[in-house]
């Protein structure tokens, strides 16, 4: 293996988390295999901070393709662009983070180039015979292991939270290369799909079923006013506030935000249950959440049985400290990133 590409997406000045993971994974494998690791960034007026940040991931090369037509994602233009790049550069692997964009783009590029694709990979194992990629299927009963036919780059999208994000000292041989879109026969045809309207969602108003982070309160909150604490926590974590049946029946929260059998069934990546004992009807509505953090005063509360982490304490004491600590960590995180 001689070259690994990592596809980089950014929002604002920040590289998407899944892409940070993909870049880190690519750097790790490239290091082990003595291959070159290239980060590929497509866009228009790419913020210098994104490129600077990539240096800190330890990539050998950043390949930038800037063009006005790439400012907004469009399936057809991005496919055309990637096709041109991958035909010229031919890496062994193109690693992408599993994002909404990758789900749209990766299969299309794969079909265009006739090269293999494995989505939502959980483990990459480069062997002498070629790359072996593991992914889960028939959740949660099986894993599938795929290999690639040796034609063109192997495209892999990496499932979220599989790889660690690592920042390593920048390499001396770091290079930044610009691809001239003018030099490439990039067809700048308009995409047949037009975006008519894009409405920005405010995290706290996102439909519960779509929320990535949910902060829920129950009878243990003791009063409706105390839900202000949950709103603060939701703001810090970028989440939405929900409630148990008890809290809704006591008219502390509107019925729309009830989680459970009679309310909404949710499966966010993080569910924080505050003062919810975890009656079976509630558990049914949220047990498929990826991470469950429960705060409760009763050590025998059923919620602790399914919680990834249980916090034994009073929400009134724990939450203010928690909010403050997360807020501080968030500020520190941002400062570190901008430094």
């Amino acid at each position: 293996m001689t070259e690994i590409f990592a596809f980089v997406e950014y929002a604002g000045e920040k590289i998407l988390r899944v892409c940070q993971e993909a870049v880190s994974e690519a750097v790790r494998h490239a290091g082990k295999l003595d291959a070159r690791c290239t980060a590929l960034v497509l866009g228009h007026r790419i913020p210098p901070k994104v490129l600077e940040d990539l240096r800190r991931f330890g990539v050998d090369r950043v390949l930038v393709c800037e063009d006005e037509s790439l400012s907004e994602y469009s399936t057809e233009r991005y496919t055309d662009c990637l096709e041109q790049i991958l035909k010229k550069q031919v890496p062994d692997v193109l690693l992408m983070g599993s994002s909404a964009l990758a789900r749209d783009l990766a299969p299309r590029v794969s079909a265009r180039l006739g090269c293999g694709l494995v989505t939502e990979a959980t483990f990459l194992n480069p062997q002498r015979g070629g790359l072996h990629v593991t992914r889960t299927a028939y959740r949660p009963h099986a894993s599938m292991i795929f290999s690639f036919r040796d034609k063109g780059p192997a495209i892999v999208t990496l499932a979220p939270k599989i790889a660690e994000v690592e920042r390593v000292p920048s390499k001396d041989r770091f290079t930044l290369e610009s691809l001239e879109p003018r030099g490439m026969p990039l067809s700048l045809r308009g995409d047949r799909v037009k975006i008519e309207q894009a409405v920005r969602e405010i995290p706290s108003q996102v439909d519960l079923a779509d929320a990535e982070v949910i902060v829920a309160g129950g009878k243990g909150m003791q009063a409706g006013e105390n839900f202000r604490l949950l709103e603060d926590l939701a703001e810090v974590l970028g989440g939405t506030v929900a409630a148990s049946r008890m809290a809704v029946d006591l008219k502390w929260r509107p019925r729309e935000c009830m989680v459970g059998v009679t309310g909404k069934v949710v499966s966010p990546s993080l569910y924080v249950a505050c003062g919810i004992s975890g009656a079976i009807q509630h558990l049914m509505g949220m047990q498929s959440s990826e991470t469950i953090v429960a705060i409760n005063t009763d050590p025998n509360a059923p919620i602790f049985r399914i919680a990834t982490l249980g916090i034994l304490g009073d929400v009134q004491d724990v939450l203010p400290v928690m909010i403050e600590a997360f807020r501080k960590a968030g500020v520190a995180d941002r400062q570190e990133r901008s430094a």
């Binding site: 929002a11 399936t75 994002s99 909404a100 789900r103 783009l105 990766a106 299969p107 299309r108 794969s110 079909a111 265009r112 293999g116 694709l117 494995v118 989505t119 072996h132 889960t136 299927a137 028939y138 959740r139 009963h141 099986a142 894993s143 599938m144 292991i145 795929f146 290999s147 690639f148 036919r149 995409d191 047949r192 799909v193 037009k194 975006i195 008519e196 894009a198 409405v199 920005r200 969602e201 779509d210 990535e212 810090v236 974590l237 991470t291 953090v293 602790f304 919680a307 990834t308 982490l309 249980g310 916090i311 034994l312 304490g313 004491d317 724990v318 400290v321 928690m322 600590a325 997360f326």
Partner: protein, 294 residues
């Protein structure tokens, strides 16, 4: 065939019903075919409902279901006829079950190309293997514009364009697209329930099987990715037993000796009576990446 010739194609996949665990054949590294229980892919059923709704609003569309399915799935496919599809095409041939997502897309493209169409609808992924590849690949093979993971579709009055709503993290997009096009559905209203007389009516219908030769294919296209093995999933890393938990050695040893079973209940509970312990817990949450700050 309908005079106006307007038609909507739905691709429907029979998938394993994941309510029943799959049984693996460890020697061959494949799934034991005897454990298979076919249902129609739920996201594809959402797509079918969208097509029916389009026809309810603008009559005259012919709804054509194209499915790569074994003969045993015929009964399930009749459901599509019962709710109102005009035609079901079942494609099957030797070696089809071993086809990769690209191979399936090639077969579907060949089967769909036979007749003119305005719109192809599909579920955004198969509910069992969750590749989420065949839709965009099909669009590419047929040279169509695509919109993936849509929430709703509205057909223009002239039947020449569609408006589609789609959610990406943080934004709700309204997109428009000229036809023909391919849309994959992520969410939407569930498939309607068939009326009893309709179910009776379709119960006798034989769904004709189309083999690969009839749609101009010599065989299953060679796979781009080769399935090496299907294995049981790796057990989750038990970080509760690792040194990183910060528990005393004796306690950890006890937990390991007890098989983790008894201690597990308390192991993930951290008492936080004061500020210091709460701060420590927050630190732990961030360190273990249980909480990711935006």
């Amino acid at each position: 065939m309908n005079e106006t010739g307007r038609s909507i194609v739905i691709t429907v996949a029979p998938v394993h019903d994941c309510q029943n665990p799959v049984v693996l054949d460890p020697l061959r590294g494949r799934i034991n075919p005897a454990c298979r229980q076919w249902i129609l892919n739920p996201p594809d059923m959402i797509a079918l409902e969208q097509a029916l709704r389009i026809r309810d609003r603008i009559p005259g569309f012919r709804i054509r279901v194209v499915s790569i399915a074994p003969p045993s799935a015929e009964r399930a496919l009749r459901e599509c006829l019962a709710v109102g599809a005009d035609e079901v095409v079942r494609v099957w041939g030797e070696g089809v079950e071993e086809a990769d997502p690209h191979g399936l897309a090639v077969i579907l493209a060949a089967a769909i190309r036979v007749r003119p169409f305005q719109l192809i609808l599909a579920g955004w992924r198969r509910a069992d293997v969750e590749h989420a590849q065949t839709g965009p690949m099909l669009a590419e093979l047929l040279g169509l514009p695509q919109i993936t993971c849509a929430r709703s579709i509205e057909m223009g009055r002239d039947s020449e364009s569609i408006r589609v709503e789609k959610r990406i993290p943080g934004r709700m997009l309204t997109m428009s697209c000229s036809l023909p096009a391919l849309v994959t559905m992520e969410k939407g209203p569930l498939l309607r329930y068939p009326r009893y007389p309709d179910r009776r009516r379709v119960s006798k219908i034989q769904i004709a099987s189309v083999d690969l030769g009839a749609i101009g294919l010599a065989g299953v296209p060679p796979p781009l990715v080769q399935l090496e093995r299907v294995t049981p999933p790796k057990p989750k890393r038990r970080s509760a037993l690792g040194a990183a938990t910060g528990m005393p050695v004796v306690a950890r040893l006890q937990r390991i000796l007890s098989g983790g079973a008894q201690a597990k209940k308390e192991s993930n509970i951290r008492p936080c009576p004061d500020k210091v312990s709460t701060l420590k817990t927050v630190e732990h949450l961030l360190k273990e990446k249980l909480v990711l700050l935006p």
